[in-house]
């Protein structure tokens, strides 16, 4: 039976992993039949070996940092130290119930308290709350605090959030979730925010602006202090999207640039694993003005050095709770371990090597004739190349290159983002890759371009070496097939014969 068949299709009625089930218990007396389930839930009926084999084999169908160079711009795919994982999984942390009293949690809370403090220091802000469970929830918390701040001052006319057109999609989406209108600000040809447009946009309706710096264009916003003045003078606050914080860690601090609130994607800058989609953690940092509004809980420490939860009783103006317990606690432990391993000097080293690798790779690709988008700018930790010319001249699109890179053993960079650069790849090598790996990537890019020039059809057919060829995305969206149903064994490619070598 092909091991790429769905786990359901490998089952046999009544088969069970016997060591896992606690026996044959009777139906409950005290629950009337109307409350009970009549039909089996349709879960797989397989042996323990089948489960292990299936999910081991499936895992091998993934690219990951542990197996491949993964220069996915804006996503900061760098090495996730294994120590962070194993230390967060220590039984004392792992088995602790969220409602366990604080006296059985001083070890855990000490880590969180120190993490709050370290994050405040690296961001240059006054207070930190760790509860948001990803960048987007951090954004939510931040923008909700901006709203709460204006409300508390009865400044109710501020109904707009400004967002540069290069911004990540979560920024406008968040602003709307918080009840704001979004106003886009254009980017100038050097990749900076268009100051003129900004000046025209700010006014009494401005609640704030959401910015990434360095931006998702991979460049540092040079007039940031001026922008901060413009927005602050108009009565708005500055929100820092910290997805790119690793680029400036220990070099310049958002608080010093004039930001009032920031989220930090701990799963990027602090190297907690992305887990094929999550979990992350989106700690937020705030300046003095927003301190009373921070989401809860936060860890406090009293004079005796004991840790406690700061709650609504202490912070009545808090925007409230964003999760049932303490956010993604285990992710926070991983970030804590990472931060402690780095320490003061390690923080700057991250920014330096991330920037070095990006500028080296950018330079090498430019030398090979690729079109670097903002060619007069330094790359921060990431940069953009555009295939506009190759597309026009040879029909080679960014998508073709992305797919073909997979065959060469490299995960594709972020494609077609930011939206304002045509046929672009956003490339972020990160600080943990070696020069050899970067050189290999350049060689692959050169080879792929040549392949496209020689035989464009071959390129359009890529990838070839993956478990599947290019997938029909249109069909996926049109003929929705979102769940297997019992009796529905129709995965193709399950017979033994097709497992053969070509």
């Amino acid at each position: 039976m092909g091991n790429d068949a769905l786990i359901f299709e490998q089952g046999s009625p009544g088969r069970r992993a016997t060591a896992q089930a606690p026996g044959h218990l009777p139906a409950p007396d005290g629950i009337p039949a109307a409350f009970l389930r009549q039909e089996a839930p349709g879960l797989p009926e397989v042996s323990e070996l089948q489960v292990v084999r299936h999910y081991t084999r499936l895992s091998q169908r993934n690219f990951s940092i542990d197996t491949h160079f993964y220069p996915l711009g804006s996503c900061t795919m760098k090495y996730n130290p294994r120590a962070s994982n194993s230390l967060a999984l220590l039984p004392g942390f792992l088995d602790r119930h969220p409602w366990a009293p604080t006296r059985c949690g001083q070890g855990f809370m000490a880590c969180l308290w120190e993490l709050q403090d370290m994050l405040a220091e690296v961001t240059g802000l006054a207070g930190v709350s760790l509860t948001p469970m990803a960048g987007a929830q951090g954004e939510f918390a931040g923008v909700a605090m901006i709203r709460a701040y204006h409300r508390a001052r009865n400044d109710d006319a501020r109904t707009e959030i400004l967002v540069p057109d290069a911004a990540h999609g979560t920024n406008p989406a968040t602003a709307v979730m918080c009840g704001f209108r979004v106003r886009e600000i254009p980017t100038d040809s050097d990749g900076d925010v268009d100051m003129q447009a900004l000046r025209e946009a700010v006014g009494p309706a401005t609640a704030g602006i959401m910015l990434t710096n360095p931006s998702t264009l991979g460049v540092f916003e040079r007039r940031i202090s001026e922008m901060a003045d413009v927005v602050h003078q108009a009565g708005g606050l500055l929100y820092y999207d910290g997805a790119n914080l690793n680029a400036i860690l220990g070099k310049v601090r958002p608080g010093d640039m004039g930001f009032d609130v920031i989220h930090i994607n701990l799963h990027k800058t602090f190297s907690t694993p992305h887990g094929g989609g999550g979990p992350g953690a989106g700690a937020i940092g705030v300046g003095e003005r927003l301190l009373p509004f921070m989401p809860l809980p936060v860890v406090g420490r009293d004079e005796s050095g004991e840790y406690h939860w700061v709650t609504e009783a202490d912070r009545p103006r808090s925007i409230g709770r964003l999760s049932a317990f303490m956010g993604n606690a285990g992710v926070l432990l991983r970030a804590y371990v990472y931060a402690r391993m780095l320490g003061r000097e390690g923080m700057s080293r991250v920014a330096e090597f991330a920037t070095l690798n990006a500028n080296y790779l950018m330079t090498r690709l430019r030398q090979e004739g690729f079109q670097v988008w903002f060619r007069n700018r330094r790359a921060s930790h990431e940069f953009i190349i555009s295939f506009r010319r190759e597309a026009r001249e040879h029909g080679i699109t960014a998508m073709d290159v992305a797919k073909r890179l997979l065959d060469y053993g490299y995960h594709a960079p972020t494609a077609y983002f930011p939206l304002l650069v045509p046929e672009c790849l956003l490339i972020e090598p990160t600080e943990t890759e070696t020069r050899e790996e970067l050189d290999g990537f350049v060689a692959a890019m050169v080879a792929i371009r040549q392949e496209g020039i020689d035989d464009i059809d071959r390129l359009k057919g890529a990838p070839y070496a993956m478990p599947v060829r290019r997938l029909d995305e249109v069909r996926a969206a049109r003929e929705l097939d979102l769940a297997w149903r019992p009796g529905d064994n129709r995965t193709t490619d399950t017979s033994t014969a097709t497992r053969r070598a070509k």
Partner: protein, 443 residues
């Protein structure tokens, strides 16, 4: 490398940062620690947090997790991958997520599932926003929350939907019964959605069939907040009432996720196919490749922030993928019958536990109707000091309901899952007996 770039030293790479801003001081940061030193520190801290026997529930539950689950989940290929944007290089994660969606659909008896939200509470908040969007017939942005809903869930919903002009109102519960009174409720008025939790915060089973029909009669969508383990035993939301619930959501933690002080867990959300375009978060679909082979990919991305930006169904981007990986493997390992056995063991153990505790003088159960795996116990005095003394003896005796409402200060919510043994129950009863004696004698 600096030569290639053409700069003299690494600091030159930061020359676009205005001088006035440079030179971040990081004085408060400690020196870096080698792995050996941080390992020792963390081991000492973790050891300090070890707790003994635990009868706490109230939204997070200790279950046995088969050893294979996390050994597989932490394989680098799952652990260190990003969101599967390049489908062809992510078939492992994508197929697994498709299997997850299938399992959740089966468990809830709903048609579609997303690929996860942050946690149970925030999933409920998203469900409320989704219901308000999806229910085009409702004139009011009014949503009813059962009084028997987990109080923290209510807080989270308030915090998240507050800024969108949605009115939240309560459906009162009968104090003595610990559950909603579906019979006496004479219609819900004009509401967009009704939220019911099953089993409810107090562990009691709600009359979900009647409540669902009432909600539908009012033109509202019914949002079911459910414990996924209970669904192996209890009627699934898709079967509630005449037409079934419209959205089922909840906390995925009981499906193989360690307690871990509260996270990371994951929220699940299932619904009817008709509402799929209103669903927040990622969805995986099955399709075919150029050669006609089955393959899996992110789909319906036009709902999401990276495409739809300010018009997206939610701002969620990173979700709880790895937790879902564990939950999928956990469910495959147990199967339907295994999960049902777990649910039964939880129920029986909680019944045994409350029977044992209520043999002590002054200890009694508060509600009488059917329950799943939690029950409220009344102590012969304020629960706080009793629980403290139990904790002194290494026993976490339950959740103090006085924390949410002072009139319940003698009430404790207890839970005994399948990991609790008969000996553990005897131990709790004996220890509680000793503590009550002590307090009685004013020690």
């Amino acid at each position: 490398m600096l030569d290639t770039i053409g700069v003299a030293d690494i600091n030159a790479l930061f020359d676009e940062i205005p001088d006035a801003l440079r030179g971040a001081s990081l004085d408060r940061l400690p020196d870096g620690l080698p792995e050996q030193a941080i390992s020792r520190l963390m081991r000492e801290r973790a050891a300090a947090d070890e707790t003994g026997l635990c009868f706490l529930g109230a939204g997070a539950y200790r279950h046995h997790i088969p050893a294979a689950v996390w050994e597989l989940t932490t394989r680098g290929e799952y652990y260190s991958a990003y969101t599967p944007y390049q489908a062809e290089a992510s078939q492992g994660t994508l197929q697994l997520l498709y299997e997850y969606q299938s399992m959740m659909a089966g468990l809830t008896a709903m048609e579609v599932s997303n690929a996860s939200l942050y946690d149970g509470a925030s999933a409920l908040a998203e469900a409320v926003l989704m219901a308000v969007r999806a229910n085009r017939k409702a004139r009011e942005r009014r949503v009813l929350l059962a009084d028997t809903l987990h109080p923290v869930y209510r807080q989270v919903v308030e915090a998240i939907v507050a800024n969108q002009g949605i009115e939240l109102e309560a459906i009162p519960a009968a104090e003595a019964d610990g559950a909603l009174d579906a019979d006496s409720a004479d219609g819900f008025g004009d509401v967009a959605a009704v939220v019911v939790q099953q089993p409810n915060f107090f562990g009691r089973l709600e009359s979900v069939d009647a409540l669902t029909d009432l909600a539908h009669a009012a033109g509202a969508l019914l949002i079911a907040v459910v414990n996924p383990v209970s669904l192996a035993l209890l009627k699934p939301p898709g079967m509630w009432g005449a037409r079934g619930a419209d959205i089922a959501c909840g906390e995925g933690q009981p499906l193989g996720i360690p307690l871990s002080s509260g996270g990371p867990y994951f929220g699940f959300l299932c619904t009817r196919k008709a509402h799929v375009r209103q669903v927040p978060g990622r969805i995986i679909g099955r399709t075919v490749d150029l050669e006609g082979r089955s393959g899996y990919t992110l789909t319906l991305q036009a709902r999401e922030q990276h495409i739809r930006r300010s018009k997206a169904t939610s701002n969620i981007c990173t979700n709880q993928g790895l937790m879902v990986t564990a939950a999928t493997i956990h469910m495959a390992m147990l199967g339907g019958e295994g999960l049902r056995q777990v649910a039964l063991a939880c129920h029986h153990n909680t019944a045994r536990l409350t029977a044992a505790l209520t043999e002590l003088p002054g200890v009694e159960t508060v509600h009488e109707g059917p329950f799943f795996h939690e029950r409220v116990i009344r102590m012969p005095g304020p629960a706080g000091p009793i629980l403290d003394r139990l904790a002194d003896r290494g026993l976490l005796g339950g959740y103090d309901l006085g924390g949410h409402s002072p009139q319940h200060r003698d009430q404790v919510l207890v839970c005994a899952t399948e990991v609790i043994t008969a000996e553990d129950i005897r131990h709790y009863a004996a220890t509680l007996g000793a503590v009550l004696e002590e307090l009685h004698h004013g020690q």
